[in-house]
């Protein structure tokens, strides 16, 4: 048994269960054990994974939501299992439920990116790459055939696709051609490496002398994307050899948690001043200087921009229905964004 098959399957089970039950913990499973049992029964038999596509499962076993309860009261049909067998099991498009109907045809595309970066104490960028996902939420009637193209697909280093994406058009023209599953799904994930700059800078300075260590950390915007950078946070672990810490900041709040983690939440960077954190750390009595230096983990969120620079060119629908709403969004978060000191 390949290890990844096991791990992937378990991840899928947990996804499906939390999708069905709106969360995953012991109590929820106990309360809904019948559904859990039904789901597992369909997902695995004799140790071999069978159906794990949420759309098909939903056709076989209705989720315990309010809609279905209301429906069952109205129609008098109390079964939460559909009477018919899913048609899609035999079809070539196993991820799509059979022929949904919508009054409003909508499709939304989100670019969600996470920036991983490591910055050295001298401010040099050791490593910076973006891991991104194209998330699509589609509510389209019938069998829609979509094509999505990017303005600059050449920047992508490596891509992974949902099974619905046809490989040939991508290979020849970098066009994503697909029949989407119904609802929300991850169309594609990608990686962009060797980025040259980060949106914000963090400048930590630590100087120690005679059993004390002075800390001064500055945070600022490096180059303006024109979008506001939101919910900036900074976290670091104080080395175990520190007895006490006295840290204050001119913006936001500083908290030192029980496990010697210091967290500084800044939020937005104000126009008029540069946020800074300063204070002193008192070292253990035998130590003169600090030998282990903390690593600062930075969090931020930027709405409306994909930092990799990836841009969606257009989204087309073959045989477009009369009313079609298309929406695009982008968001970048900090992933593993570290600044060493």
């Amino acid at each position: 048994m390949p290890p990844l098959m096991g791990i992937e399957f378990l991840c899928r089970v947990s996804d499906v269960l939390s999708d069905y039950l709106g969360g995953l913990n012991e109590d929820v499973i106990k309360d809904n054990f019948v559904i859990v049992y039904e789901l597992l029964d369909e997902m695995i038999d004799n140790g071999f994974p069978l159906t794990t596509e949420p759309n098909i499962l939903r056709e076989m076993i209705a989720p315990p939501n309010i809609v279905s309860k209301v429906l069952s009261v109205v129609t008098g049909n109390s079964s939460n299992v559909s009477d018919t067998l899913p048609g899609a099991t035999g079809s070539c498009i196993p991820w799509r439920a059979a022929d949904p109907k919508y009054a409003n045809n909508e499709v939304y595309v989100d670019l969600v990116e996470e920036m991983d970066a490591v910055i050295n104490r001298d401010g040099a960028l050791v490593k910076c790459e973006v891991y991104g996902e194209v998330r699509v939420n589609s509510h389209l009637s019938g069998l829609p055939d979509l094509t999505l193209s990017f303005a600059n697909p050449s920047i992508l280093d490596d891509v992974r696709f949902h099974p619905c994406v046809r490989f040939r058009p991508w290979e020849s023209h970098q066009i994503l051609s697909f029949v989407p599953p119904d609802g929300e799904f991850k169309l594609m994930s990608y990686r962009v490496k060797k980025l040259k700059s980060t949106p914000i800078y963090v400048k930590p300075q630590l100087s120690s002398d005679a059993g004390k260590c002075r800390v001064n950390v500055l945070v600022g915007i490096r180059n303006d994307h024109g979008k506001t950078i939101d919910s900036i946070t900074l976290q670091f672990q104080l080395p175990p050899c520190i007895l006490s810490a006295d840290l204050t900041s001119n913006t936001g709040t500083v908290n030192i948690l029980g496990n010697k983690t210091c967290s500084w939440s800044i939020g937005r960077i104000p126009k008029d001043k540069t946020p800074s954190l300063s204070g002193t750390l008192v070292l253990e009595s035998e130590l003169e200087r600090l030998h282990v230096f903390p690593t600062f983990r930075v969090g931020f969120k930027i709405m409306g921009v994909a930092l990799s620079g990836l841009q969606i060119d257009k989204l087309d629908l073959k045989t477009a229905p009369s009313r079609l709403y298309k929406g695009f969004r982008a968001l970048t978060r900090a992933g593993e964004f570290e600044v060493r000191s």
Partner: protein
């Protein structure tokens, strides 16, 4: 499924105590059984839920059986499912109920709703009651012919379940061949996939007893079946794709164009969202191109990006699994990944098991162009809060230094470590500096200056202390106060708890004595006295030996203890290349995660069916016979296990031997160029002996080992053994033929055979040669045990002549 009987669990007062609630439920169920009022299913469902929850907490609700069955004559699938769960649970423990259950389920197997048919069949096959299997055959047979694919899918797995309950019933009903027909003709891919997995299991199990089954198993990896499955691969579910891909790895294409066809067809699988599919595809690519070196390299380039993406997406568990595989590939072909070294940089809050893998990979990919950056990065980790990782990264720096790239800068870094004043950093760095000096004695000046400044009081760890003492002794002429430091260490002899340190101290004082006698004399006397009085046997012996040899002749003593040393060129590798190859063959399995071949962590009876073929695949030349039964596989593996540990010892021994070569020579005991050739033996061998590989295998596993010995090779022989072929030709001239050979310098493995002249008596030999130690491990097996000694002498003399003109 709900775990049965958990009655041990302490019952809290709020939980029902049993009896009264059960009879209460019974009454309610009975009332509902006949009712056809609307909404009755809902109340039934509530009751069923209650029954099952009682069942899971260990209350015996088997008395409700009749009522439950009566109530489930409904079209409501949820009720049915709960009822199946209930009956399935009690049929096992209660044979009286089992028959009732079977009747009930058999009836449902003819229901109009395919879902109910399928579910009933699944429950029926899950009963596992051995004496009721005859009731399974009918429903399964009709299930396999059902018009609905859902039922067929369930029935196929049902056949496998039946096989595990009663293999003979399953085979007698001719189900395997029905499955085969379904596999090749069914329109539903899930049915096909289930057939495939069931057939694989059934035929693998049958293969040991039935010729036909093993032929059928071979047929699964024949060209038509493989092509049929590959052509439909996009229709399969992702899990079934994994299954098919795993099968494809066992397929041996007849020509190279096939390989390219398969790879083209599967290329887009590398972009699949499911990591399991990607990894399975990677395995296919790697296995297919094993014999084509340049294409194999291109494959590495191609699979690199998908694997690196997989690492950065998904849960920590997923990335660890992928990372382990990447680790394996990096170790095999570091140069391919040398430009991607930044991917192996550690992130601050990664778990340490991930960091450790990454450190090893960073070490492996270091080359001229990236060493500086990698070492800079590693030095960052030395200041890491996580102490084990900090140590590991210092060690990694040292390993890179030993790889000979940009040593200059690295030595500076290591010396900086020594000045960091953290005890564990100093300790690790000392050990490394010692290793470095053994390889690059030219750096001694720079290092000694720094090492001399380290106070031995700050070094507590035995390894580090031993390293420091070794350097004090070795370079005492360059260190002003070496004798005095040693002297103070000797004074504290009793406080030194580690025998290793005391041994090193003895030797270091001796070395120091030869270089600076007047200053060391008193320390030496004290050390020898303390050493002789030591309770540790090794320390005692060494002290005594030093004492006696000094008394005998001081200059001889110096030649023994302090001979001029050659720089060490290669440090022994910890894992043999054979094991690494073995793990590579088991790519995409747990072996990679454990970094052990599967035979080291699985029980004999669970070993995979195709392992043996791999084993012979490693040793080229011989054509592996595939119709091998499992028992011999096991034995072969066991033998291998023994072999590899022996091999490890051998490399270790080789290592120490290398160090002591100088001493041997100085003592005038230089190895004789050719060992004494024994007198010509009586045995005559057939010069044109012939034996086919399968007979060889058969004999090898049947015969006991007649002789096992270790032979030394002459230096000329070692020099001549650059490739296995050289030895083959030589042995052939002595009528000893090779059937299989393999390995790379310094480890070679050969299987030889010979036949007695004008008789059909065979001799089989396994010979493992390690050229770095100059030793050969020989195992001889013979048809005629009485002549094995004579043959062995013959073999030895033939081997000893190897390399001589």
């Amino acid at each position: 499924m709900a775990p049965p009987a958990q009655s041990q669990r302490s019952q809290s007062p709020s939980q029902p105590s049993g009896k009264s609630e059960v009879s209460d439920l019974k009454l309610q169920l009975r009332q509902l059984a006949g009712s056809r009022a609307p909404g009755v299913d809902d109340s039934k469902r509530e009751l069923f839920k209650k029954v099952i929850s009682y069942m899971t907490i260990g209350i015996d609700v088997s008395s409700l059986f009749g009522e439950m069955v009566m109530c489930s004559t409904t079209s409501d699938i949820v009720l049915k499912k709960m009822c199946y769960l209930y009956v399935g649970n009690y049929a096992k423990v209660n044979p009286d109920l089992a028959l009732l259950t079977i009747n009930f389920l058999q009836r449902d197997c003819h229901d109009q709703d395919p879902m109910i048919r399928g579910l009933a069949l699944r429950s029926l096959c899950s009963l596992r009651v051995a004496n009721l299997v005859e009731y399974l055959v009918g429903p399964l047979g009709s299930g396999l012919k059902d018009s609905n694919s859902y039922v067929r899918m369930v029935a196929v797995i049902g056949v496998l379940k039946l096989y595990h309950i009663s293999a003979s019933t399953c085979v007698d009903a001719d189900f395997p061949s029905t499955l085969k027909h379904l596999m090749l003709n069914d329109s539903d891919t899930q049915v096909v996939a289930n057939c495939l997995s069931s057939l694989q299991e059934i035929w693998s199990a049958e293969a040991s007893t039935s010729e036909e089954a093993s032929r059928e198993r071979e047929a699964l990896i024949s060209k038509p079946v493989i092509y049929y499955l590959l052509n439909r691969i996009k229709e399969f579910s992702e899990w079934a794709q994994c299954l098919v891909l795993e099968l494809v790895t066992k397929y041996v294409p007849s020509e190279s164009s096939e390989i390219f066809d398969i790879m083209n067809l599967l290329e887009d699988r590398l972009q699949h969202a499911n990591g399991a599919v990607v990894l399975a595809t990677v395995k296919v690519f790697l296995q297919l191109t094993l014999s084509m070196t340049d294409v194999h390299q291109q494959v590495y380039e191609r699979i690199k990006a998908p694997l690196l993406t997989l690492v950065s997406s998904g849960s920590p568990e997923q990335s660890y699994a992928v990372l382990s595989h990447l680790h394996l590939l990096v170790m095999r072909a570091p140069y391919v990944f040398s430009s991607d070294y930044k991917h192996f940089y550690c992130q601050y809050n990664e778990p340490s098991y991930v960091k450790r893998l990454k450190l090893e990979m960073l070490t492996a990919v270091a080359n001229e162009s990236n060493t500086y950056e990698i070492v800079t990065e590693l030095c960052e980790y030395a200041a890491n809060v996580d102490i084990p990782i900090a140590r590991e990264s210092i060690r990694a720096v040292g390993k890179i230094a030993l790889q000979q790239y940009d040593v200059n800068a690295i030595v500076d870094r290591l010396l900086q470590f020594l000045e960091m004043e953290k005890d564990y950093v100093t300790a690790e760095a000392l050990v490394l500096v010692k290793d470095l000096l053994r390889k690059y004695p030219q750096w001694s000046h720079d290092c000694i200056a720094v090492v001399g400044n380290i106070s031995s009081k700050n070094v507590q760890e035995p390894k580090a202390k031993a390293a420091l003492i070794w350097m004090l002794g070795e370079y005492s002429q360059d260190m002003q106060d070496a004798p005095y430091i040693l002297e103070s260490l000797v004074e504290n002899w009793d406080e030194e708890h580690s025998a290793e340190v005391r041994l090193h101290l003895l030797t270091a004082v001796m070395k120091c004595f030869f270089k600076r006698p007047p200053e060391t004399q008193s320390a030496l006397g004290a050390a020898l006295a303390a050493g002789v009085a030591d309770f540790h046997q090794d320390v005692h012996d060494r002290a005594l030996f030093y004492y006696r040899i000094l008394r005998y002749n001081v200059s001889v003593a110096e030649r023994v203890v302090n001979p001029p040393k050659q720089a060490v060129s290669v440090f022994a590798d910890t894992q043999s290349s054979e094991i690494k190859d073995r793990i590579f063959d088991e790519f995409n399995s747990l072996s990679v995660l454990y970094q052990k071949p599967s035979y080291m962590f699985t029980d004999k009876e669970h070993r995979g069916p195709l392992e043996f073929a791999d084993e012979l695949g490693n040793l080229s030349i011989g054509e592996a016979a595939d119709n091998v039964v499992s028992s011999q596989r096991v034995e072969e593996n066991d033998k291998d296990l023994l072999l590899t540990t022996a091999e490890k010892e051998e490399t270790r021994a080789g290592h120490s031997q290398q160090a002591s070569f100088g001493i041997d020579d100085l003592l005038g005991l230089g190895m004789p160029a050719v060992p004494n050739v024994p007198s010509p033996p009586q045995l005559k061998l057939n010069t044109k002996a012939a034996l086919d590989p399968s007979t060889f295998q058969q004999k090898w596993r049947q015969l006991p080992i007649a002789l096992s010995q270790e032979l030394s090779l002459s230096p000329q022989a070692v020099a001549a053994l650059t490739a296995p072929q050289a030895l083959l030709r030589h042995m052939q001239s002595h009528s000893i033929h090779c059937i299989a050979s393999g390995g790379q310098s310094p480890n070679f493995k050969f299987f030889f055979f010979a036949q007695k002249y004008e008789e059909s008596s065979n001799y089989l030999v396994e010979c493992i040669i390690n050229t770095s130690s100059g030793k050969a491990q020989v195992k001889v097996k013979a048809d005629d045990q009485s002549t094995s000694q004579a043959f062995s002498t013959l073999f030895e003399s033939a081997l000893s002549k190897f390399g001589t003109p």
